[in-house]
Amino acid sequence: MTLMNFIYGFLAVLGAFVFQTSLTGINRKVTARLQKRRGPKWYQQFIDIFKAFSKSSITHGWVYDFGAIMALGGIAATVIFIPVAGMQAFPGLDNIFVISYVLAVGMLGMAMSAAGSGNPWASIGVSRALTNMLAYDIPFMVVVFTLIYQHNTGSVSELASIQQGVGILGWNFFKLPLGGIVSVIALFGMLGKKPFDSFIAPAEIASGPMVEYGGKQLGMMFTLHELMTFIEVSLILNLFFGGGETLLIYMVKYAILYTFTNIVSGVMPRFKIDQAVTFFYKVPLGLAFIQGLLVIYLGWGY
């Protein structure tokens, strides 16, 4: 816990933000090409965020600001926990549960500040976001449980290093195929991508929790979304696609996985929130259970 760790941590947050925001810009172009139009510049996402920071803003009281700061602070801390290609700012902190529960700090902070703004649409958006979280997180937790049982370790970097060095087939995605599929579907839920984005639906509930944000709070919410995407995609990458031996391989795999989710979500409709819950509790939960029983009782996937 020396000063160097904190500097590495700060660099990790900065690097994650820059990498993910430029990737989002590229993906906005990809989605545009999906719809046969040219799409914005690749650094458009940066401009959007800095423009939001440059505008004046309003506040509805201290909980409105405190919630936003707590959300972004929690998520920035989680980015420091994430092991990227074997490098970690604070070694020994990358337990899966710590990461997925500190994510909940970010979600709770945003929910608190959205509800604090007093707008009914924000509360409806928050209630949908929490229901959505209950939907996608249970199948994912069952798969994570199977992984921990199988490899006897909860630390993400160890799980990633176990899969490396044996080529593509060493990845958990091929050793535990059902678990891999469930986790990718859960990734769509985590990112709030198209099939499961009823909690930020712009037309229905005026962009849900973000309804009262403007100016710097809106910029903070955009950065929060970028960092949360980085955390969730790199979590799935490390658990199922073998995390990168070197930084370059990590970034290439990350880009492919994120663009895949973007393309699929570009053509998907939007679930109502109770349809999303019933969907997640039928197919993905079933697959996760089958995968768990296969690993525990039949010992496959070792």
Binding site: V63, A77, F90, V102, M112, L134, M141, V142, N152, D274
Partner: protein
């Protein structure tokens, strides 16, 4: 140690006399009495093994007993701060104060009981006194249901106590219970009876019915004690029936699931069922107190699973969750009680925007639900993390899913009061309410500091739990500095907290650098350009998770099942009664003839 019991007994009578004259004085006295009890029990921490007797009740100090007593005393001490403000609302304030201390004495006696008879006597005092207090709440029916289900527990404890004393000959707990390794069949019976008492008191799935009723309608200042303290009695009994009573050896030869014998696995499934059931019901509730009551059902499930696992991680997690849940749910109940004191209601759809008038109560409730939901900086995370590690070590996939469902589901139901009661629009009728009384605020802040401390430095508690595990012979939880090490990975909570603080600081600087934002009133929100002037219309507090609740609206609840059973019972009674007390005489003639025949045959033997 008997000095403490004598002292508490005297303070009991003194508080009765005091509050006969001046109720609030008696209430303040209960604070002093519980503080004295807390300090004196704390001083006993290194005199383990001392046995004392008090006429025919004999007690023994054990680390586990000391640990349970400390949890209970903190909850009693902090909620005692709220007594003085409820004196005018209670029907019998003097009885309330004295019964408050009586239930305290009963539960501490139970934890330190050395032989089975003392165990049963202290169990009865606690049950009786708490039932008489719950009766002073809103509904008598709640107290009646609470007593009936506790009575099931008492009867099964009595049966187990008498059977053990008869079979094993000695009444001393450890000696009597370990006898059953030689007699597994009777052992199973005793185990069943004991664990039944534990289940009724923790409020596990089939026996949870009393919990929402009693907590919901008990006087506001007693429900934190009910959910924080008295539920732990059941956990102690569960501990006795699994750790002291050699359950794993007695059921050693039965079918094993992942190394856990079938009857214990069945109980764990009951615990998992109560987690899922408590979470689903809590998400539906409209009243904040009933919601917290159902959350106690869910957390009771975690505690039961943790204690029944009896291994390095989940057992430690279970015991620590006892403390975390006690502190967190007591703080949450006290915050809701403070709001109820100011606004007069705990129904969520009638409240809103209380944060603008009671910010400290809001922060207390926020820290409490962060710990109850098991989110890192607070204590709740460490215990739930240990339980999940224990489960994934043994590979019990069904329990792990229920545990995951419980912890993710808890985000939903803990956030509902936060948003419906504290955030959202402030109704004009609550425009001029003031912050809670400073005495109340100190109690709540003590509990908040405790749950923060437990989160950042879990090793303080885990050291005592490790001592308990050594006494039981299971390999203890390894703690070095603030990191808790387990086979499946370790977590250093102090580091997590510092990194979290670092992230928070980073963003605070970013927030301060950017231009200051303009303060805008709550009603100046985006209503798609329509003019709305009444805040109540703009507050979203009613049926907060409507789409999710619709999914399981039509699921049957257990309550009607009990109602039908009770009706069947009373019909049976009437049918039997009609035989003996029937107006027309030939019924009487029938019975005379029957008796005559029996006498003749009997006489002929």
């Amino acid at each position: 140690m008997t000095m403490i019991f004598i002292f508490l007994g005297l303070s009991l009578l003194l508080s009765y006399v005091l509050s006969r004259k001046q109720p609030t004085l008696g209430a303040y006295f209960t604070i002093i009495a519980s503080l004295a009890g807390l300090i004196s029990v704390y001083l006993l921490r290194n005199s383990v093994g001392v046995t004392e007797s008090f006429y025919y009740l004999n007690f023994q100090i054990t680390t586990i007993g000391w640990y349970f007593a400390m949890i209970l005393l903190t909850v009693y001490f902090t909620s005692a701060f709220f007594n003085p403000f409820w004196m005018d609302e209670l029907i019998y304030p003097a009885a309330y104060n004295s019964l408050y201390l009586l239930s305290l004495v009963g539960t501490i006696g139970l934890f330190f009981a050395q032989d089975l008879m003392t165990l049963f006597i202290c169990w009865e005092t606690a049950v009786w006194s708490s039932m008489l207090i719950v009766q002073q709440g809103k509904s008598r029916q709640a107290a009646w249901v609470y007593f009936v289900i506790s009575a099931i527990g008492s009867m099964s404890t009595l049966f187990a106590v008498l059977l053990t004393m008869y079979l094993s000959g000695t009444s001393e707990i450890t000696g009597a219970l370990t006898y059953f390794t030689t007699a597994p069949v009777a052992g199973a019976l005793v185990f069943g009876a004991f664990i039944l008492a534990g289940l009724t008191k923790i409020g596990i799935f089939p026996f949870h019915v009393w919990l929402p009723l009693a907590h919901g309608s008990a006087p506001h200042t007693f429900s934190p004690v009910l959910s924080g303290g008295l539920v732990k009695m059941g956990a102690y009994i569960a501990y006795l029936s699994v750790a002291v009573f050699p359950a794993y050896q007695v059921f050693g030869d039965s079918l094993k699931i992942q190394g856990v014998p079938l009857p214990i696995y069945g109980l764990m499934i009951l615990g998992a069922a109560s987690i899922v059931y408590g979470t689903l019901r809590a998400i539906q509730q409209e009243d904040a107190k009933r919601l917290l009551a159902y959350s106690s059902v869910a957390n009771g499930g975690y505690i039961l699973i943790g204690i029944l696992m009896m291994d390095q991680m989940a057992f430690a997690g279970g015991l620590m969750h006892l403390l975390n849940h006690a502190v967190a749910s007591a703080a949450a109940f006290l915050a809701i009680a403070a709001v109820a004191k100011r606004t007069g209601t705990t129904k969520m759809s009638e409240l809103g925007g209380i944060i603008h008038r009671m910010p400290i109560t809001y922060t207390v409730y926020l820290i409490a639900i962060i710990s109850m939901a098991g989110i890192p900086p607070m204590g709740g995370f460490v215990s739930k993390w240990l339980i999940f590690q224990g489960l994934s070590e043994k590979g019990l996939i069904l329990l792990a899913t229920a545990a995951a469902f419980g912890s993710i589901g808890s985000y939903m139901y803990v956030f509902r009061p936060l948003s419906a009661v504290f955030l959202g629009q402030l109704a004009p009728k609550y425009e001029h309410i003031k912050e809670a009384n400073p005495v109340m605020v100190t109690a709540m802040l003590i509990l908040t500091a405790m749950s923060l401390l437990l989160g950042v430095l879990p090793n303080l508690v885990l050291k005592t739990i490790a001592k308990i595990q050594i006494e039981l012979g299971i390999n203890p939880i390894i703690v070095n500095g603030t990191a808790t090490l387990t086979e499946n990975g370790s977590v250093d909570m102090l580091q997590v907290f510092t990194v979290f603080g670092f992230g928070f600081l980073l963003i605070l600087i970013l927030f301060m650098v950017l231009p200051k934002s303009r303060r805008v009133g709550l009603m100046d929100t985006y209503t798609s350009a329509e003019f709305i002037h009444t805040p109540e219309l703009l507050h979203y507090g009613h049926s907060f998770y409507a789409p999710f609740e619709r999914l399981y609206e039509k699921w049957p609840s257990v309550l009607p099942l009990y109602k039908r059973m009770s009706m069947k019972l009373s019909e049976l009674g009437e049918w039997a009664e009609s035989f003996f007390f029937h107006p027309d005489p030939n019924r009487a003639v029938l019975w005379i003839v029957v008796v005559a025949i029996v006498v003749i045959i009997g006489g002929a033997q």
